[in-house]
Subunit: 197 residues, 2 copies
DNA sequence: TGGCAACCATACGCGACCGTATTGAATCGG
DNA sequence: CCGATTCAATACGGTCGCGTATGGTTGCCA
């Protein structure tokens, strides 16, 4: 038998990151109001006592979750977006990448739900601004006017937001459309003018 | 001086409908969790005592709000949609009407936020199903295949949902697109094939 | 082996909101 | 004018989650 010491301490001890991770998952699945200290502790098999050793408050946990989210948002964009020279391809890659990352889409939808929250709001606003700016730029690179590019960017972003919102609220309705990539294709075709053959 | 009786009873007495109306407004502005009995009573200048005379519970109030909403959803569709013979016009009218009703759009967005709630979920699901079915039908009337019509309907609905969600979370971002009708035009043009000139 | 630091449990007080009871005041029909 | 009805205030007990205080284990290290 392995020399299990008296109390294996369930988990070899919880790290701050473990709390943040668990909180993020809970947030994505059940929303911000669900990321509460006591229930979270219960789910992790410990009590509040542990939590308040790692964090000053629930507020601090939420801030940490949001920071982590914003971090790998930027990271993602940087890697995926990279420098695709052809503007048509770049735009389509952008669209497909966005819709394919379902996990992130769900998390984003969950955050949108709590947009009223004073901690969530700034993070969400920054994300939205970045994304819309990226879209604007991408559409302008196609030769569209600013106004037109702005409209299409908003349209694309609304379609993104709405898609994951619907996926959250009424998954059955979305799944009735059997083919996601067909959906995104349609979106891309509707928004991205034909390349100059 | 007008013969003000001893206690003019602030408001000439609150009706059940007044509570429902106030709750609906609060819901649209601050979400479901904000429609709480005590705060609501405070806002109306009375106390819980009054509320629990008109309603059995908070739950009953919420049900009432949802029922009222579903009621005039159907009513709206019936009147607006009416029988426009030409499928192209019908579809465009539908789209414009949906985006123009900002009040209802905001209320819808607020409900979407609380889609997890066991009372909201069914109402929201029914609304979504009705709307998608309407969209499917309208696109099929243009001669599109079912699959294609389904995709476009979902796209249009996602754009609708997402638009009002963005309006809720980050109004500045939306307002940067100066022209709403331009936006909707773009959406319509992208989705509705040219009429057979 | 004593001691300190990391990690966690337990117990408590607090505020917000729900729902219940009970009482009070205005109003209307007879 | 009076009693019943309608509407509302007050006071209470209960739940859930936050945050604090305090004490208990474990592990490492001198």
């Amino acid at each position: 038998m392995a020399p299990i010491s008296k109390k294996p301490r369930a988990n070899p001890t919880l790290s701050r990151e473990a709390w943040v991770l668990a909180a993020t998952n809970l947030l994505a699945r059940e929303g911000l109001q669900a990321v509460a200290v006591e229930p979270l502790a219960l789910a992790l098999g410990v009590t509040k006592g542990s939590f308040y050793w790692h964090f000053k408050s629930r507020n601090e946990l939420i801030q940490a979750v949001l920071e982590a989210w914003e971090q790998d948002q930027s990271a993602d964009v940087a890697t995926r977006y990279g420098g695709i020279p052809d503007p048509h391809r770049r735009l389509r890659v952008l669209l497909f990448a966005a819709f394919e990352d379902v996990e992130n889409g769900k998390l984003f939808a969950a955050l949108t739900v709590s947009a009223q929250d004073s901690r969530v709001e700034p993070a969400l606003r920054r994300a939205t601004e970045r994304r819309l700016a990226l879209g604007l730029e991408a559409f302008q690179a196609l030769g569209l006017s600013e106004e037109e590019a702005r409209q299409r960017a908003l349209l694309a972003y609304a379609a993104y937001t709405g898609y994951f919102q619907l996926l959250r609220t009424t998954p059955e309705a979305v799944e009735a459309v059997t083919d996601l990539s067909g959906y995104v294709h349609r979106l891309a075709d509707a928004l991205v003018p034909e390349p100059p053959t």
